[in-house]
Amino acid sequence: FPVAPEKEKEDLQFAKKYLESFYDFKEEKTLFRAKDLNQMSDKIREMQSFFGLEVTGELNHKTLDIMKQPRCGVPDVRS
């Protein structure tokens, strides 16, 4: 089911923080927004692969559901 725009922004923020905490995502402020999203999409792919989800790079419901599950604070991957 399509997600409401405001909720979408909130979810994006949540996902960003999750990927920073557990997947070593570093948001580099660049001029090209598209590049930002690419970097994040890479990290989403990494997280989807780790949890055995379908690897799409998109912040879909299943991905978000897993991000919202209570979990351990140790990162899943680290540089």
């Binding site: 055995g52 209570p70 979990r71 351990c72 140790v74």
Partner: protein, 404 residues
Amino acid sequence: YSTFPHTPTWKKEDVTYRILNYTPDMLQADVEEAIARAFQLWSSVTPLRFTRVYNGQADIMISFASGFHNDFYSFDGPGGTLAHAYAPGSGIGGDAHFDEDENWTKFTTYSGYNLFLVAAHELGHSLGLSHSNVFGALMYPTYMPVDTRDYQLHQDDIDGIQALYGPPKESSALPTKAFPPQEPTEMIPAEAPTETSPREEPTETTPSKPPQRPDDCDPHLTFDAITTLRGETLFFKDRYVWRKSPYFSEIEHDTIFSFWPSLIAGFDAAYEVDNKDRVLFFKDDQYWAVSGYSIESGFPRPIQNLGFPTSVRKIDAAAHDQNTKRTYFFVGNKYWSFNENTQSMERGYPRKIAADFQGISHPVNAALQKNGYFYIFHGSNQYEVDIKKKKLIRIMKSNSWFDC
């Protein structure tokens, strides 16, 4: 399983721990027991021994804290991050922190987090394991409310920790030292004899060796239950699952826990109602309904709900006939026929198995419906039966499905 970069481990077998403070959610004794049990999980599969100390610096310092607590990883209030721990090392190395904003519980409930389960996971980090991507492993990153009464480490966890420390030395599988509490001392000397007060023998000790899975082609192999599931066929024995799938040629070996962590192993019967994408599992006088991985709410339910008399305390096997929408339940020397459309037992049952299924011995261990035939398993034999005519076609070994 995975380890931390540079694979840090404790370079000794005697590791100390200290509980710095407690959560008000639980009795102090329950906190201590949960943590000691968590350590016991790991000591039972490695040469490691864990000694509790009450003063000074221990290798593993355990504490409860909220929000910012003097390290770089502040906690985040209820939910989200529950706890974290540091890889083996000096100072903060090995330490485990638990988010006090969570509701910590002694047993698995849906309103809190089982401290034993979370502590066991964090101590895996304290000993050098990182996260595992094997669903069902203790070191899987997300919390999974499972029944912890006879909790056993997943094989992946055992492989991981033994890659770091090796298996236990035969005689070393002793309970954790200093359990129950002893007089506070500065440090309990490593060579102190193991003392367990007669007052509190450890009652729940994880067996150091989970029973092994029988070989696929063991001629005496029998099954507890068998069912189809979304085009695959699952064979159950104790906690093990043999999975035959059209998608891959080999038999895959799993555990019930890895698919349905909250179901207890040792099913009596199972069958799929394929048009509802639903499999029912039976154990003793209860049954559960699952759809894929998820267990339908409102289960388990008593088997009497299906129409069995109270005298029936368990069923031996079940198989569903997709054509007639009837499910046959085998109990002792009799069988029942259940109408899935009306959700009721048919009149005139139970009938004697021998009356309608000539040549088939009882009790029936498991039953399967596939390709228009029933396969009825008794011991290490299975009987292929033409469902319409209820006519015995041939007898095969129970594990003939495994291409032995």
